[in-house]
């Protein structure tokens, strides 16, 4: 293709960067202003040090998210390896069902989840938030895609050396797949961190609401306090993102990788290592 002049794409790059970053800076700047538009840190003092309620909720939400993320990572690593590297009857059908479930929005799954949680007597407990989220299929999809890139020769070699499957997953497949794993981890953390509908539907007790939805549904008296809380809520994702952005980009890209007709048969020939 004819090369476009570089300055055009540079201009676009600057524009896109500005569009992505400036809103963050705007919210941040706003959080430093008092009602009279003067610079102040007193709201930060209020949220981070003076009052315990915000940090308490923050810690609880963080704990919840860690449980969701840990569960999701384990479940999707196992299943992802199963889908990518084992052969069993009905696999194509199951994977298709998995993808169908993956595109189902909360609007569809909320009611079934609610019914089951009600039957199990888990409504209005933290389990109601954690358990269904562990089995969200997106992680499995990403892990399957990324495990397919692990060459079969390596797996066979490890098998010949007497390596068991679990050990093979932990010691070989996962380390070769850092990006996929971290991407799964990040996306499921984000998903849990941004829960809105589930707490509102499954929980009666407002005290248990995670910080994200608590803030959004009942704003504190002062709008600036809300902005500062918003910064607080943005910290964990931003921190993770700053640390892992390369893996996240790589892992997401795998979702669009050409998904061969029968990848489990032909991947050995298509792999370059």
């Amino acid at each position: 293709m004819r090369k476009r002049p570089a300055y055009f794409s540079s201009f676009a790059a600057v524009l896109l960067t500005a569009l992505s970053v400036i809103p963050f800076l705007y919210v941040f700047a706003k959080s430093l202003l008092s009602a009279q538009n003067g610079f102040t840190l007193s709201y930060y003092y209020q949220v981070f040090l003076a009052q315990e309620q915000y940090l308490l909720r923050f810690r609880k939400s963080l704990g919840l998210c860690l449980c969701i993320t840990a569960g999701q990572v384990v479940v999707s690593t196992l299943a992802g390896y199963g889908f990518a590297k084992c052969r069993f009857p009905g696999k194509n059908v199951l994977f298709f069902l998995l993808m169908v479930l993956m595109i189902m929005p909360l609007q569809v799954t909320l009611v079934p989840n609610y019914i089951m949680l009600d039957r199990l007597g888990l409504l209005d407990t933290y389990y109601a938030l954690v358990l269904p989220m562990i089995f969200v299929p997106l992680g499995t999809f990403i892990m399957t895609q990324s495990f397919q890139a692990v060459p079969n020769e390596i797996i066979e070699a490890a098998r010949l050396d007497g390596c068991g499957t679990l050990k093979l997953i932990c010691r070989i497949a996962v380390p070769m797949n850092r990006a996929g794993l971290i991407c799964t981890l990040l996306l499921s953390f984000l998903d849990g961190w941004n829960m809105v509908e589930q707490p509102m539907v499954y929980l009666e007790d407002f005290g248990r609401y995670p910080i994200s939805v608590a803030l959004a549904s009942v704003p504190p008296e002062n709008p600036t306090v809300q902005l500062v809380c918003c910064i607080l809520v943005a910290l964990p994702p931003l921190f993770l993102f700053a640390y892992f952005n390369r893996e996240l980009v790589e892992g997401i890209a795998l979702g669009g990788e050409k998904w061969k007709n029968k990848p489990y048969v032909s991947e050995a020939s298509s792999c370059t290592f």
């Binding site: 676009a12 199963g82 993808m99 799954t109 050409k258």
Partner: protein, 293 residues
């Protein structure tokens, strides 16, 4: 020979064991309760007074104005937003492709809006588009007419803009990963034969991008449904008519504990999505079939 069949058997057993946790969880929280929902959708009343009413609820739902509004708005949102996001991210991906290395960091930056917490996005929208928000202040200073963005027809477009801002980066990355797998010599050969940039795009790039576009569309769809929670938080339970989505409908039916209504809404949405997904999946598999040969 015997060794081989033993290995296959082992692989099959292991595969099933490995997906067991996922399958059990999905069965418990999604598949089984969904069957109950299906059953619910043909019934009326609760507990003892429950009775079978066939497709009566479906009929009355399809006639109900509120449901039609919610369902229609959801579809309208998707029909407008999905092509827009694909075109936009396709354009950005093409633009970045030739300078991919130089713009490595940009890919991460583009994901920044995606990781902004829901509260943040909602606050941002309110700061910008509320009646005394930044946009209105700017318009006022310029002497242009101000508008009540969040409580009028304009809300729909605000929501579309929010969706694009938040999710374009994600699909740019998906499309870009497809673009860079197209062999460079295809373009070189075409250039030698005098193909224009447009012809190259039309006959080399586009035919090889169906999978990427498909997955970009799938993930954009998933992200679109996630975007509804922002819409929900911005508008409250009864927002402007133009953004009254299925989300609101389901939430409001939940408040009234109207199970049959909820069940029918879920079943209908599931049906529409599954059929659309299956058809487009089949179509894209056919388009790409030559690659497996």
């Amino acid at each position: 020979m015997k060794q081989v069949s033993k290995n296959t058997e082992r692989s099959a057993r292991e595969g099933l064991l490995l997906i067991l946790p996922l399958a059990a969880g999905c069965g418990l929280f999604y598949a089984v309760p969904f069957l109950m929902v299906l059953q619910n959708s043909f019934q009326r009343g609760t507990g003892r007074s429950r009775e079978y009413v066939g497709i009566e609820t479906y009929r009355s739902m399809l006639r109900s104005g509120v449901f039609r509004l919610a369902f229609g708005n959801t579809l309208k949102f998707l029909v407008v937003a999905l092509p827009l996001i694909i075109l936009l991210s396709y354009a950005i991906a093409l633009l970045l492709k030739n300078h991919a290395r130089k713009h490595e960091a940009l890919k991460s930056v583009l994901l920044l809006p995606y990781i902004m917490p829901v509260v943040g996005t909602v606050l941002l929208v309110e700061l910008l588009f509320a009646q005394t928000g930044l946009v209105n202040k700017g318009l006022y200073t310029l002497g242009l007419p101000v508008a009540d963005w969040l409580h009028s027809k304009a809300a729909f477009w605000v929501v579309i803009a929010l969706y694009l801002w938040k999710n374009t980066g994600y699909s740019v990355i998906l499309l870009l990963s497809g673009l860079i797998t197209i062999p460079e010599d295809h373009y070189a050969a075409a250039s030698l034969d005098g193909a224009t940039a447009w012809q190259q795009l039309r006959y080399i790039t586009m035919p090889q991008m169906w999978y990427s576009v498909f997955f970009a569309a799938v993930f954009s769809l998933i992200n679109a449904f996630k975007c509804f929670r922002e819409i929900f938080l911005i508008g409250g339970t009864h927002p402007d008519q133009s953004i009254y989505m299925l989300q609101h409908f389901i939430n409001n039916a939940f408040d009234k504990l109207n199970y049959p209504k909820l069940a029918v809404a879920s079943v209908l949405l599931l049906l529409v999505l599954t059929v659309l997904f299956a058809l487009s999946y089949r179509w894209v598999r056919r388009k790409e079939a030559y690659k497996d040969a």
